[in-house]
Amino acid sequence: MDTRELALKIRKHAVMMTHRGRSSHVGSVLSMADIVAVLYGRILRKRHDDPNWPERDRFILSKGHAGAGIYAALAETGFFPVKWLKNHCAPGSKLCGHVSHIGIPGVELSTGSLGHGLSVGAGMAYAAKIDQKSFRVFVLLSDGECDEGSNWEAILFAAHHHLGNLVAIVDYNKLQSLGPPSETLGLEPFGAKWRAFGWQVKEVDGHDHEQLIASLDIPVECGYPPTCVIAHTTKGKGISFMENTVLWHYRSPQGEEFEAAMAELKEAIIA
């Protein structure tokens, strides 16, 4: 599937889902939409008709609040019907705001509390290493999430055990819950920190699909350092009035704002 087309679909679903479900975090989904589209459209080895295929690549969304984006990607790549997305967050829905695996084909790990995904991903990567399996493990984190100390335990662990089959992607949109990381709990020099912990680091434009593909398509070999892809992104990417604003971490698009957002996405040209 064309990854740009998939990214646009994820954005449209995200706006629609957060509109209908009156739910939060549309800005977080929009910022990672290109990363997720590249993963699901190009990078991940998976079988939608056999979601537990043992050789599949594992993907964990550690920033579980952006669950709508993963549900959209799974639906668009055939894991479950697209119509499931319609009642996201509504009473009785299968799909809750933070990503959950129960009854949802293709979800590897339920998350929502930050700082959990990388440890579990490291455990999966360690299992693959000792069992000499060839799958890779991808974990997508947010920048604000890197405040959680548990991540740094996992970062130490993965480097120590040379988990070359593990990729951490940070959606570095530079806006966390109440403001920018630089004013909250500074992360910089961010890449240097990962490097100092023993990871190989790639910094890319998180909306540039070529750069993302080049950085994420790692060979399956253990014994090398794990990879961190710092993806520089824009929060709310793709909808002008949502870009770079904390408000859209929480706000649900309604009324004129919803119409305006959908209009912008309708006119978006897949470059």
Binding site: H101, E108, L109, S110, T111, G112, S113, G115, H116, L118, S119, V120, G121, A122, G123, M124, A125, Y126, A127, A128, I130, D131, G149, S150, E153, A154, L156, F157, H160
Partner: protein
């Protein structure tokens, strides 16, 4: 060790503890052993990841470190995913006595018991430890094993074969029902013996499985004993005492009162070894047997009081009946006799009321 030898899926993760104790395992099964460093949150997350890939993972640390430090990882990553992770705590209760409250695991059972999916096990001696370890290995999904510190004795004479969730009788019959969980079992045995020498017959069951709990056994004991007593090296809130209280509160019909022996509200901030702390906090055999005797005495008194109140009530009823009779047959009785009967009734009422008052004061 035997389990790990036979099943290569079994892994043991430690958060940098178990000096000396884990060395034989680490040397025998290097591919099944992993020291993750002083990082319990990561240990629990990694354990979940390994378990989701088909491993049977035992996580190992001491006191509150393998549970409370990483409680959310256990709740979200282990329990919600029903991951095959067995959390092992060494040093339940006051095992690490002089090391202070950071090392006293005295709320772990309550906390772990409240999590969905997990089985909670607190063996009382070596045979029980063998039993629950085998059970934890055989039971798919999360388990919590709360162990002592090693060096425990064998209280059960023979190897145990009990299904998951069943209480184990040591003394099956008695007027008082003693229930114990975890390492305090030895003191419960001694307390039972002390009570016997004082003429109090007590049954004794050990409950190495706190979840699932042997509710049938508890209900049966409450219906056939004069008193149910729980003994645990843990807070009286939410552990064995709490669990039994929940069962009894929902049990209809006549039932024995409950006495929960354990750490009362507050931190165990006295300094001393396990034996000393058990004594300080009312868990020595003497203290347990004294609590039981005091509770029996109280329940006897309450029983007497109940009987006394019952007879007072009957007396009141009789006075009322006489008054009714008087009003119905007033014409037949001479007014002089009526007056004297009324006077006698006033006296009687006064004394009944007085007795009621004094019984309330008591």
């Amino acid at each position: 060790m035997n389990i790990a030898r036979q099943d290569k899926r079994v892994m043991l993760l430690t958060a940098d503890l178990g000096f000396g104790v884990l060395t034989p395992f680490a040397e025998a099964f290097p591919n099944q052993f992993l020291n993750v460093g002083v990082a319990e949150q990561n240990m629990s997350g990694v354990a979940s990841g390994l378990a989701l890939e088909g491993k049977i993972v035992f996580t190992y640390s001491i006191g509150n470190f393998p549970t409370m430090r990483c409680l959310e990882q256990i709740r979200n990553d282990v329990c919600y995913h029903n991951a095959n992770v067995k959390i092992v705590c060494i040093g339940g209760g006051f095992c690490y006595g002089p090391l202070g409250i950071s090392h006293h695991a005295t709320e772990d059972l309550a906390i772990m018991r409240s999590l969905p999916q997990i089985k909670v096990m607190a063996p009382g001696d070596l045979s029980e430890t063998r039993l629950v370890t085998q059970m934890a290995y055989e039971t798919a999904g999360p388990c919590y094993l709360r162990l002592g510190r090693g060096g425990e004795s064998n209280i059960h004479q023979n190897a145990l074969k009990f299904p998951l969730g069943q209480g184990i009788p040591l003394i099956p019959e008695g007027d008082v029902a003693l229930l114990s969980t975890g390492g305090i079992f030895g003191n419960a045995v001694k307390a039972q013996e002390m009570l016997a020498t004082k003429g109090v017959s007590a049954s004794l069951h050990t409950l190495p499985f706190l979840k699932p709990l042997d509710e049938g056994l508890i209900e049966h004991l409450a219906q056939t004993s004069r008193l149910v007593v729980t003994v645990e090296e843990h807070s009286v809130i939410g552990g064995l005492g709490g669990a039994v209280a929940e069962v009894l509160a929902e049990l209809h019909g006549p039932k024995a009162p409950l006495v929960r022996i354990g750490l009362q509200e507050g931190f165990s901030c006295e300094v001393g070894d396990q034996e000393y702390l058990r004594e300080i906090y009312g868990l020595s055999p003497v203290a347990i047997s004294q609590r039981v005797k005091a509770a029996l005495q109280k329940s006897d008194q309450i029983g007497q009081l109940r009987n006394f109140n019952k007879s007072l009530f009957e007396m009141q009823e009789k006075i009322q009946n006489i008054q009714i009779l008087l009003s119905e047959f007033g014409q037949v009785v001479s007014s002089d006799a009526k007056g004297r009967i009324q006077e006698a009734l006033v006296d009687l009422k006064w004394s009944v009321n007085n007795n009621e008052l004094s019984s309330q004061i008591r």
